[in-house]
Amino acid sequence: MDANHTPQSDILLELTGVKKYFPITGGVLRRTIGAVKAVDDISFTLRKGETLGLVGESGCGKSTTGRVIMKILDPTAGTIRFDGRDITKLSGRALREMRQDFQMVFQDPYSSLNPRMSVGALVAEPLIVNKKGTREQIRDEVERLLQVVGLSPEARLRFPHEFSGGQRQRIAIARALALKPKLIVADEAVSALDVSIQAQILNLLADLRKEFGLSYVFISHNLAVVKHVSDRVGVMYLGRMVELADKAKLYSQPLHPYTQALLSAAPEPKRNVTRDRIVLAGDVPSPANPPSGCAFHTRCPKVMDVCKSQRPELTAYGDGQLVACHLYA
């Protein structure tokens, strides 16, 4: 696998066979009668300084993956290693210590900032709870952070409701940066923003990455955005990773039929580019009741008999492009 190409010390994050099932209860006694397989056996690695993009349709488990990495959710199975340390079972103080190294930026800048705290308090909070310095030091640090994300230090005294979406997202980023994390999980961090603002934030994220050597797990459903920010891109479908490759390869030569369809369906702001559009029929099946075999077989234009019964594994094809499809077996 591609982890083999990289020395172990270069690997920041490693997910092995991670699953996250949400129980469905029902019946007279509220027994668990099923599970939403939000994330179903996902493995990947993230190198230091690398950005991994995750794309996929709504409900395919992108956010859940992000939350499992963040340890907001405990995985049902599998292990997560961060910086060489198994953090799957970590909890309490040890976890809190560890948490400083990975931070999250949420999609909705309106709900991710506590409306009753001033911007200063919001940005200072990670420093305060982790006891990073004296009051004055923290104050200075907050002002510095605000400047780093492109806000004036006076913003400290204001409240989130006085800022536009893009500005709020900057505040959220400042807050995430406060603890000098190694990894930032950005879950649809620009989806709620206007295109003009989106560019500001994307540029900011890129600059921060350069400046602080950050790694990102960048979650988005926008293929173009993911392509722009990522080094490698993983495509998810119904809780599974169907393709994972360097972005150049993935976008120029998508292997999985789903990736192909996804790419062909994405509208481009260009006139007269004639593409062979693959319009998939039907809707994404429910993750509570995923199809047998390859989860994509119900919509796949190249479906074969084997797809209906056998689940394809993510395997390397060509030079390190990982794909889970029987076509390439």
């Binding site: 206007d194 500001q200 580019v273």
Partner: protein
Amino acid sequence: MSTPLLEVRNLKTHFISRTSRVRAVDGVDFSVERGKVLGIVGESGSGKSMTSLSIMRLVPGPQGQIVDGEILLDGKNLLKLTEREMTNIRGNQIGMIFQEPMTALNPVLKVGEQIGEVLTRHRGMNKAEAKKHAVELLKNVGFPRAEQIVNEYPHQLSGGMRQRAMIAMAMACQPTLLIADEPTTALDVTIQAQVLDLMRELKNRTGTAIILITHDLGVIAEMADDMVVMYGGQVVESGSADSVFEEPLHPYTRALLESIPVIDEERERLTAIPGTVPSAANFPEGCRFADRCSLVESSCREKMPELRELRKGHSVRCTLAV
């Protein structure tokens, strides 16, 4: 060419309260040709939705008021009609679909009833006929199980299905104009492709003209014949989609096109537009884009530029463009 199907002239829709006046739509002009797709793009708050609601005369009152302008449908000024006459036009001559398929359908009524309602209202059908017809309509928008779907409730359908049901409803009376306010924004790309396909197909089949509102330039590029770019409640650029994409005249349109990542090309760094959209309650004097414009000159801040036809059928609201 004959007269356009719809002509909007100097439309002004304001939200007026004791303390403020929000100029949501502030002098908008455009026209829609029969059987063509007009795309309207613009950032959030630029007045796209209010423009479309003004055409339907559904601006949320009592604060929201159409204070000026003309909306001519087939030469008939909609703003002069009585409320009752207007209800005969809504759903009949003009259909409308909205962004959120989750909330745009009434959760407590069956899909079939909601579609049938249009027919009983405008086509004088009885309930049974309307329901039968609803099944047909649903088949037309690609529902295989249409007979069952009519008896289901919106929450039993997926997002894409709901949006298709909305389209079926809006198209029930074969309107001459369909207003689609961000019909695919809430949908996944693969589903968006389905819906756009469907709209295109319906347009070709019925000759219905479409106003397609979106902030996704990609969708416009794919669907629109003509396009309008809105900023701060005004049209800043309008023309055929070909010419606008080929040669964007307004700095805003240009910036917009350059600020988005594109799959087909590698952009090292995006060209961000600094600042934020000005508040509609508090527009600056002069050009509304001036604060964010990289080419701004002092004259820009003094006088509001006119919308000028710079190329044939291609107008722009910028004094600097040549």
